[in-house]
């Protein structure tokens, strides 16, 4: 009688002995899950930064052909896109986008792909959309000498020295794509300003 009980108890005791390890494993699993989700943005080898580094030069505008949906997944194929990878260490950046017939938007991203500013053609007062991207310290230099309310310029402060500018224009029909792309290539601008060219404040 007692020998049967002990024979039954032995596998039961082995399972019981493994139980703390299983629980420890599951807790470890939760920790691994949380850590891996947080680490993914830093570890992903094919993020927007890596994709755009292949096709663009620093502080120079590049038009992405064919809607840009191949270089940047989830980009709208109805749009023509121009990209500028910027580095503000040399000075403030001047971005100009043409106002296209239907819709133009300029969006600014940090190097890790966080949007810190966006405007569309509704903000345009002329036939082009002009804005200046500066770092925190360049912003301070700009506002020290002159009254900034007098300025008609859009100045955006970038939280990081490096980042991306995306200029996107809508082609309402696929056949209009090449035309819009040409207009983007011809009239857009993305260049570092020399001290003399700094945003006019009069």
């Amino acid at each position: 009688m007692s020998s049967i009980a002990s024979r039954l108890a032995r596998p039961f005791r082995r399972v019981l002995g493994a139980l703390p390890w299983v629980i420890a494993g599951l807790l470890l699993g939760v920790a691994v899950h949380i850590l891996s989700v947080f680490a993914l943005p830093r570890l992903a080898p094919d993020d927007a930064r890596a994709r755009l580094a292949e096709v663009t030069a620093v502080n120079r505008l590049t038009t992405l052909s064919g809607g840009g949906s191949v270089v940047l997944p989830l980009a709208d194929p109805a749009f023509e896109t121009a990209v500028c990878r910027f580095d503000l260490s040399a000075g403030p950046l001047h971005v100009r986008a043409p106002v296209t017939p239907h819709y133009t938007a300029v969006a600014l991203y940090t190097a890790t792909g966080i949007a810190f500013g966006a405007i569309n053609d509704r903000a345009a007062t002329r036939r082009t959309l002009d804005l200046f991207v500066v770092t925190q310290s360049q912003r301070r230099e700009l506002s020290t000498d002159e009254d900034e309310t007098a300025a008609d310029n859009l100045i955006l402060v970038s939280p990081t020295t490096e980042g991306f500018v995306l200029i996107r224009a809508l082609a309402v029909q696929p056949s209009l794509g090449p035309l819009i792309r040409e207009q983007l290539a011809a009239q857009s601008l993305c260049e570092i300003l020399t001290p003399e060219q700094a945003p006019a404040t009069q």
């Binding site: 082995r14 691994v32 064919g66 109805a78 991306f164």
Partner: protein
């Protein structure tokens, strides 16, 4: 249980469940910032400083730059209004009213957001070119073969996604589960 086998067991279970959970959860609408409205999924905070860790992971893994809210809002559907997965071999009708926006686009894509048809064929509809049949906002047929009316080619791929993007819209910041969006109805299947 002795120390070494126990430790190995715990490490094994930890690695498998942890990485498994990550692989299963990232990209499936997990995270506090994801809204499910009918068949559509929206992550309005994606790509902003307030994005949740899951949507940050999705953004990095896809290698994309999400739409800024001042620009527009993207809604993705991987299932129709009845909850069944969207299959590009079937015919679907996307109909109903679209929230107020300057304009919108409807795009067909694969699960990895690659285009379903080669360049030169229609990949998207914009609201400017929709043939309006009634006062209703939209009526688009998604099918592998050409249809009369507003036809969006689906390329006959099994892993079809539909993406509705609203541009210059107040809905980008006010979107909630009560927002009315178009329905996706399966019409026929071979």
């Amino acid at each position: 249980m002795r120390l070494l086998p126990g430790l190995l067991l715990a490490l094994g279970i930890g690695a498998v469940t942890g990485l498994g959970l990550t692989a299963l959860s990232v990209g499936r609408g997990t995270g506090a910032g994801t809204l499910r409205i009918g068949p559509w999924l929206a992550t309005p905070k994606a790509g902003t400083p307030e994005a949740d860790p899951y949507s940050r992971a999705v953004t990095a893994r896809l290698g994309t730059l999400p739409l800024a809210l001042a620009d527009g809002l993207a809604l993705v559907a991987d299932a129709d209004s009845s909850g069944a997965a969207i299959d590009g071999r079937c015919t679907y009708r996307v109909a109903g009213s679209v929230p107020p926006a300057r304009f919108w686009t409807l795009t067909a894509a694969r699960a990895d957001f690659a285009p379903v048809v080669e360049e030169g064929l229609r990949q998207a509809f914009t609201s400017y070119e929709i043939v309006r049949l009634a006062e209703a906002g939209t009526d688009v047929l998604v099918a592998p073969q050409a249809r009369a009316g507003n036809w969006l080619p689906s390329g006959g791929v099994a892993d079809l996604r539909l993406i509705l993007r609203l541009y210059d819209t107040p809905v980008a910041t006010t979107i909630s589960a009560a927002t009315v969006l178009p329905s996706i109805t399966r019409l026929s299947c071979p």
